[in-house]
C-alpha cells in the first residue's frame, strides 16, 4: 500500500491547523471587542464557510488563486509559484473550511472569560499584552486546544474544495479523501475500504481527544 495520501493529508491538516489556530485566536479576540453591529457582521462573514457547500468555497478560491486570477497570477509572476493544482493548494482549502470551527470555539471561550481577571491585572499595573498572554489565553486554553483539534479533524476530512483547487494527481496532490473517491470510481473497492478505515481511525482519535479535553474543561470549571 502506498502511504503518500496519508502523509499528504496529515501535512495539509497540520499546516492548516497551525494557520487556523493563530488566525482564529487573533480574529476571535478582535471580534469580541467590536461594537455590536459590526460584531454581528464580522461573525457572519467568518462563520460562513461552515455552512457553505465546499464547492462554493472551492470555486471562490479558484477565482482568487487560479493562475489567471488576481492573486494567483501575481504570485506566479513574482515568485514563480503556482497556487492551484499543487499539494499545498489543499492547505488553503482546509484553512477556509476549518477556520470557523476554531474561530467559534475561541470566541466562545473569550466571551466566557471573567473580565474581573483582566481588571485585576490592570490595577496591578500590567499591560494589555501581558494580560492577553498570561491571563486570558491560559484561562481559555482548554477550549482553544479543543477548537484546534476540531479544526484538525475537519481539515483532515476536507474533500470538496480540495478536489477543486488541488485536484487528484497520484503522488502529487492525492489525499486520503480524494484517493477514496478515485479508487471507488475505478472499481477498486477493497483498496478504497482500507483508506476509509484509516480515515475513520484518525478522525475517531481526534474526537476522543476532543471529548477528553471538554470533560477536563468541565471539571475545571466545576471546581472553580
Amino acid at each position: 500500500m502506498d502511504w503518500f495520501p496519508l502523509i499528504n493529508s496529515l501535512r495539509i491538516a497540520a499546516l492548516a491547523t497551525v494557520a487556523v489556530f493563530l488566525l482564529g485566536i487573533w480574529l476571535a479576540n478582535g471580534v469580541a471587542r467590536l461594537p455590536r453591529w459590526l460584531k454581528a457582521l464580522a461573525d457572519v462573514v467568518l462563520t460562513l464557510p461552515l455552512v457553505l457547500p465546499p464547492t462554493v468555497v472551492g470555486f471562490l478560491l479558484l477565482m482568487l488563486l487560479g493562475p489567471r486570477r488576481p492573486l494567483g497570477s501575481w504570485v506566479l509572476e513574482t515568485f514563480g509559484v503556482r497556487l492551484t493544482m499543487v499539494w499545498y493548494a489543499a492547505v488553503f482549502a482546509s484553512i477556509v473550511v476549518a477556520f470557523p470551527l476554531m474561530y467559534r470555539t475561541a470566541r466562545g471561550a473569550f466571551e466566557g472569560f471573567d473580565e474581573d481577571l483582566a481588571d485585576a491585572a490592570r490595577t496591578l499595573g500590567k499591560s494589555e499584552t501581558w494580560i492577553f498572554w498570561r491571563v486570558k489565553l491560559p484561562a481559555c486554553r482548554q477550549s482553544i486546544i479543543a477548537g484546534a483539534v476540531l479544526a484538525f479533524a475537519r481539515a483532515l476530512g476536507e474533500y470538496g474544495a480540495t478536489s477543486m483547487v488541488a485536484g487528484y494527481t497520484p503522488h502529487v496532490t492525492a489525499t486520503v479523501s480524494t484517493t477514496v473517491y478515485q479508487l471507488w470510481q475505478i472499481g477498486q473497492d477493497g483498496l478504497a475500504m482500507r483508506w476509509v478505515l484509516v480515515n475513520i481511525a484518525i478522525s475517531a482519535v481526534a474526537l476522543f481527544t476532543l471529548n477528553y479535553l471538554e470533560e477536563r474543561d468541565r471539571e475545571g470549571r466545576a471546581r472553580r
Binding site: T123, G125, P138, A139
Partner: protein, 214 residues
C-alpha cells in the same frame, strides 16, 4: 493621605452622582448601600476601570481624573489596590505566582523576597503551590489581599470582601482583615450592604442610594 471623589456618570436610566472624601491613617471608610446603588461603579471609577462623564478624583492633591483639565490616568499607573468581590485570582497560577504578579520590583531576587514577605504576612505558608480553586474562601481572600498589598498601593478598595464567605466565619475573618490592614496607612474604602458590618469595621460611613451619595 486623603482621597477626594466628586463624580457623575450616566448609564441609560441610571445616574451616578457621588461626592465624598476618604482619609488614610488606619481608618476605613465605608461605602454603604443596597445592591444596585452604584457602589461598585464608584470603586471602578476610582480605579480607572470605568470613566465618569465628569468630575474629579484626587489623591493627595494629585488628580487621577479631572474632566475639566482632561486628566484621566490609566489604571496601571493609579496605584489603586482593588480587592474584587470574586477575588479575581488568576486561575492558572499558583498562590505564589498570583502574589508575585503584584510585586512591582524588576529584580528577580527582590521579587522573590517581596513575595515571600507577603506570604508570611498573610499566613499563607504551606499554600504557595496551591491553585485558587484548591483554597477556601478565607484563604482566597488573603491571597487576593496579599497580591494587592504586594503592589504597594496608595489606596485600597475592598468590594464586598465577605460576600463569598460563609456567614458563621465572617466575624473571625473581619478581625483578620483588620489585622492584615493594620500596616496600611493609605485611604481604604470598604463597600458593603451590611450595616452591622460597616459599623463594626469602619470609622466613617458614606451612604449611597440610587446612585447618590454626599
Amino acid at each position: 493621605m486623603s482621597l477626594d471623589v466628586d463624580i457623575r456618570r450616566h448609564v441609560g436610566e441610571f445616574e451616578l452622582d457621588v461626592r465624598f472624601s476618604a482619609e488614610g491613617g488606619g481608618a476605613m471608610t465605608a461605602l454603604f448601600g443596597p445592591s444596585g446603588a452604584g457602589k461598585t461603579m464608584t470603586l471602578k471609577s476610582i480605579a480607572g476601570l470605568v470613566r465618569p462623564d465628569e468630575g474629579s478624583i484626587v489623591l493627595d492633591g494629585q488628580p487621577l481624573f479631572d474632566s475639566t483639565h482632561g486628566i484621566d490616568l490609566p489604571t496601571r499607573t493609579r496605584r489603586v489596590g482593588y480587592l474584587f468581590q470574586s477575588y479575581a485570582l488568576f486561575p492558572t497560577m499558583t498562590v505564589e505566582q498570583n502574589i508575585a504578579c503584584g510585586v512591582r520590583a524588576k529584580d528577580r531576587a527582590e521579587r522573590l523576597e517581596r513575595t515571600a514577605q507577603q506570604i508570611r504576612a498573610m499566613r499563607l505558608e504551606g499554600l504557595e503551590k496551591r491553585r485558587p480553586h484548591q483554597l477556601s474562601g478565607g484563604e482566597q481572600q488573603r491571597v487576593a489581599l496579599a497580591r494587592c498589598l504586594a503592589n504597594d498601593p496608595a489606596v485600597l478598595l475592598l468590594d464586598e470582601p465577605f460576600s463569598a464567605i460563609d456567614e458563621d466565619l465572617r466575624g473571625a475573618l473581619e478581625d483578620e482583615l483588620l489585622d492584615s490592614l493594620a500596616s496600611f496607612s493609605g485611604p481604604c474604602i470598604l463597600v458593603s450592604h451590611d450595616r452591622a458590618q460597616v459599623e463594626r469595621l469602619c470609622s466613617s460611613i458614606i451612604e449611597i442610594r440610587g446612585g447618590h451619595a454626599g
